[in-house]
Every structure is written in C-alpha cells, then in structure tokens.
Symmetry: C2
Subunit: 82 residues, 2 copies
DNA sequence: CAAATATATCGACTTTTCTCGATATGTGAA
DNA sequence: TTCACATATCGAGAAAAGTCGATATATTTG
C-alpha cells in the first residue's frame, strides 16, 4: 500500500476525477488490496498512528497520502542507530 | 542485540581476553539479554539467515558479528523502494 | 572414551498479530 | 428525517511470532 501511494496517478487511475491532492480514498485501496474493508481501514489507521501516512476527510471519503518525512527519518534511524 | 554488537568492546567487556575479531559468543549475548540460551540461539540464527549477522565457529564457541553491508542495504531499500 | 562446556534444535505453550463479519458512526441526497 | 454510501470500531477466531524446557550435537579436557 505504501508503495502504491508513491504514485497514486498510475496505481489508482479510477480516481482521476477526484484528484490526488489529499491522496487516495480507502475504497480504492481496498479494491486493489483484495482485503476486507475493515482490515484495510484498520491497517491504514495503524500506518497513520505510526506517522507514515496522513488522512484528510472530505465529505464521506477519507483520503490517505504518504508522509515522506517519516520514511526519510526511518532510513536515517536505521543508518545511525541500528 | 544488534546495537550491542556495534560496540562489542564496551558492551561485552567480559570477553576481552578472547578478542573480538569474530564478534561475540552466544553465552555473552545471552547473559546480557536475560533470555534463555535456546531463545537467544534461535534469535541469532534468524538474524543470520536474514543476513544481518555472520557466525564463526571457533572451537566450542560460536561468535556472531554484524554484517554492516546488510544494514546499508536496508537503509537504501527504504529510501528507494519504500 | 567419559564428563564438562557451548551451542543448536525440537515440541509445546503463550502472546501477539492478522483478518474477518457484524455493527456503529459520519456524510450527502432525496 | 430517512436512506444509501463510505469509513471506523468491535469482538472473535486463525495464523504467526516469541519463549521456554528438554534434549541433541559438537568440542575440549581428563
């Protein structure tokens, strides 16, 4: 999912109309993941709590997009601490 | 354990006599970890299979040391793929 | 070879994580 | 306000990971 969100345009073409400013909505990710709605929702919320993605509620949809700084921080953490 | 193995001299002073060319032996790591011998042994073998540490058998002892290239590779993998 | 020491492996149990269906919450449209 | 849709949360069962004691293997010493 994290890799998918790197290039929303290519990985979620169904969502072109809505744009990608706030990321991709849960339904699109769920369809692509092939898991149930509840599983995907919970997984996304875990990633959000961990800081790797951010969510934006727009009407009835929740959009998720990557927080690149978290990935840089993780990479640096591995370099320095591990 | 992986962090301990970054600085064997400071983290495993009991082993000075044997030297650290091949790393630290299982018994020292176990004592410091506070886990049973079997748990530590299995854990180390998992880390070895994953490529993060290397083992050298010297007599009845098995020494483990870090494989730094694996950590660099992981950091780069996160940078590029994730 | 027998005993002692160091490590590895095995089987069982416990804990955690994964995944789901059911249900609750929130939003927009009629 | 009622219905339909999108997402979140909850509780339970399944799968995986963690941990242990017992035992096996390997090595050194007497």
């Amino acid at each position: 999912m994290l890799e998918w969100l790197k290039e929303p345009e290519t990985n979620f073409p169904e969502q072109i109309t809505a744009g990608f400013e706030h990321g991709v909505c849960v339904g699109q990710i769920q369809a692509k993941a092939g898991l149930t709605q509840s599983t995907v929702s919970e997984y996304l919320s875990i990633l959000q709590r961990a800081g790797f993605i951010e969510s934006t509620r727009v009407g009835q949809w929740t959009y998720y997009k990557r927080n690149e700084s978290a990935f840089e921080a993780l990479s640096k953490l591995i370099q320095s601490n591990l």
